[in-house]
């Protein structure tokens, strides 16, 4: 069996076991709940048990069926997608410290470059334009409370 199929099958099994363990914990907490016969514990055990069983069935089924090969992907395009995930992660980290507007400008600078724009002038103009438009629409017009950041709290 291919390792990726094994991981796919093990995830529901592990989640299911976590559900069962949590259910047991809740049951042993022993609260008197006269109005709730099933209670959160038994429900959790039920869902966890079902999930584990289906996960095991999947593993057995895949073992018999053999491994489905994933579609082949262009390496450059995959790289592009990974850069996008990287940009998203950095943006999420940055937003609390740099504030919404600055981090969004940085995010757009990176991502427009990643998706294929070459001229930094165009990238810069598009990034600043898009970020300010976002701020005006969501922060100013729709009154959303956007993160101000700790670096420049007085600016935005």
């Amino acid at each position: 069996m291919h390792w990726s199929v094994l991981i796919e099958g093990m995830i529901p099994v592990i989640l299911g076991l976590a559900g069962i363990a949590e259910g047991v914990r809740l049951i042993t907490m022993e609260r008197i709940q006269l109005y709730d016969v099933l209670g959160p514990g038994w429900y959790s055990i039920g869902v966890g048990f079902a999930l584990s069983v289906i996960g095991l069935v999947y593993l057995i089924y895949q073992r018999k069926k053999g491994f489905d090969k994933a579609k082949t992907v262009d390496r450059e395009l995959r790289k592009k997608m990974l850069y996008m995930i990287g940009a998203l992660t950095i943006y999420t980290i940055l937003i609390n410290t740099a504030g919404y507007v600055l981090s969004t400008i940085i995010f757009f600078l990176v991502i427009f470059r990643v998706v294929g724009y070459r001229s930094w002038l165009i990238i810069g103009l598009m990034s600043v334009g898009a970020s300010l438009s976002f701020y005006l629409i969501f922060g100013y017009w729709l009154q959303m409370v956007l993160p101000r950041g700790i670096l420049i709290p007085q600016m935005f």
Partner: protein
């Protein structure tokens, strides 16, 4: 009378604007490959929470049925379905374009969509309240039966791989257990982390799985731009017109009544309609070479199904397709409980939304006939502009409901999960349905069992839950029987 009031209510500047914006966005979503109505609704949900409740639902509904209109445009012009429901339209639609008959194909698709959409709106107006009246007798066991029945959707939407769908659905159920238990408030599965005790919010999960996940997948697939060509003559004449309109009528009836069943979505009914047209045609061999009924039937069917789904949604609270699951989530976010009481407690709201469907169909006809050339040109917008902007909106959408960065991380995490699931052929819709229905099911099940002191007999001794259990078995049987005929590619496309 209620319907008339509803239609009158739509004629305010704000409601007409919401309907127009929804229809425009829907057509845009339909035209642009790589965007689906469900993901767009997921992305727009938090933003609409700043808008008027009725207007927002009018807009989201318009977006959904508008996408069915728009989806045909790229199928016909460039052989790329904007929507899973328009996959089958490519077969004859694109052949018509190659023969210089693109205008006729677009005309019949728009007119068929209009006929089906208006018929659907009429049926929603007259059937919906009747069903809702009956559903007023529902208690927890009845709801439990109903929810079990609506879970058959999970099975239907997993038919490319049933076991993967079941696992995804169960994971959705599992995720609803994170946080406070709905009846006693006991914190579960929080692993000592405060953020998790509040549970996972629906919006970041949906935005991640649909919005971010879809953009990441599209980036890897290299979705680019598409059309350059001429439309030719618009209105079909003579025999073509007659055949096309009859196909529209058949597609409408088939699409509407099949669409009432949970799990039978627009992609499936458009395929069934194509299958029907081919079976009854005197020239079966011509299908695939550009016959007008191969476009008219499926396009009418997918629009009729789109409308039919509003009946179980409004009257019973059952989402018949992923996009309806999003609209259901929207209704819940606005504090509305879809189900029979909505026709009594929120009379003005519901009839205005239903009234907007008539207006929306007229708006869409105008948008899709005289302006079809414009939509064809819009499909030229490069994805490298749209993708980054949509990603930034996704993160905002995840942040806005509770203003916490925890939700943004949840969205990014689920975005990566959504991407992996798409790549590895795991259906996403069952996961989201499990997540939406899990809480409701748990509440109804536990209340029912408390009523019967723990006996499951309560579900068999009362007629309504018993009927739902039987209906579940029958639906599963029908689903399995008919899904065998649907090509795997259609099912896989619908899943994602």
């Amino acid at each position: 009378m209620d319907l008339l009031n509803g239609i009158i209510n739509v004629f305010t500047l704000s409601n007409i604007t919401y309907s127009f914006v929804g229809c425009v966005l829907g057509t845009l979503v339909g035209v642009l490959p790589g965007l689906s109505p469900s993901s767009t609704i997921a992305i727009l949900l938090p933003i609409t929470s700043f808008l008027d409740r009725t207007g927002s639902i009018i807009m989201l509904s318009g977006l959904y049925y508008g996408a069915m209109y728009g989806g045909s445009t790229t199928s016909i012009l460039v052989n790329i379905p904007g929507e899973p429901a328009s996959v089958i339209t490519c077969v004859d639609g694109f052949q018509m374009t190659r023969q210089g008959r693109a205008g006729q194909a677009l005309w019949i698709a728009a007119v068929g969509s209009f006929i089906a959409g208006t018929f659907g709106a009429l049926m929603v107006s007259f059937i919906g309240p009747g069903i809702a009246k009956y559903a007023l007798k529902f208690g927890p066991p009845e709801y439990c039966g109903l929810l079990l029945f609506s879970m058959t959707t999970i099975i239907t939407l997993s038919s490319a791989s049933l076991i993967k769908g079941l696992i995804a659905g169960m994971v959705g159920f599992f995720l609803t257990m994170v946080g406070m238990d709905p009846l006693t408030g006991t914190p579960r599965l929080h692993f000592g982390y405060v953020g998790l005790t509040r549970g996972l919010e629906l919006i970041p999960v949906m935005v991640g799985l649909f919005g971010i996940g879809e953009i990441l997948s599209s980036a890897e697939e290299g979705v680019g731009q598409i059309y350059s060509g001429k439309l030719g003559k618009m209105t079909p004449r003579g025999e073509d017109l007659r055949i096309g309109l009859w196909a529209c009528a058949r597609g409408t009836i088939l699409g509407f009544f099949m669409g009432l069943l949970p799990g039978i979505n627009a992609a499936l009914t458009s395929f069934f309609s194509y299958d029907l047209e081919k079976r009854i045609s005197r020239h079966k061999e011509k299908f695939g070479s550009g016959v007008i009924e191969g476009v008219a039937g499926p396009e009418a069917a997918n629009n009729a199904t789109a409308m039919a789904g509003f009946i179980p949604l409004f009257a019973l609270g059952i989402p018949a397709s992923p996009a309806f699951a999003m609209i259901l989530a929207a209704l819940m976010i606005y504090g509305l409980q879809p189900g029979p009481l909505i026709f009594i407690q929120n009379k003005d709201f519901i009839w205005t939304v239903i009234g907007s469907m008539y207006i929306g169909n007229v708006i869409l006809l105008i948008l899709n006939l005289p302006l079809v050339g414009l939509w064809a040109r819009i499909s030229l917008i490069p994805y490298k502009i749209l993708g980054p902007i949509i990603l930034a909106i996704c993160l905002l959408a995840a942040y806005s409901p509770r203003n916490t960065m925890f939700d943004v991380w949840v969205a990014v995490g689920f975005g990566i999960l959504g991407y992996i699931m798409r790549k590895r052929g795991w259906p996403i819709i069952p996961l989201i349905l499990g997540f939406i229905l899990g809480d409701l099911f748990e509440g109804a099940l536990r209340q029912s069992l408390s009523m019967s002191s723990g006996s499951v007999w309560i579900f068999f001794s009362r007629p309504i839950p018993f009927v739902f259990i039987c209906a579940t078995v029958v639906t599963l049987f029908i689903t399995f029987k008919y899904l065998r005929r649907v090509p795997k590619e259609v099912l896989e496309k619908e899943e994602t």
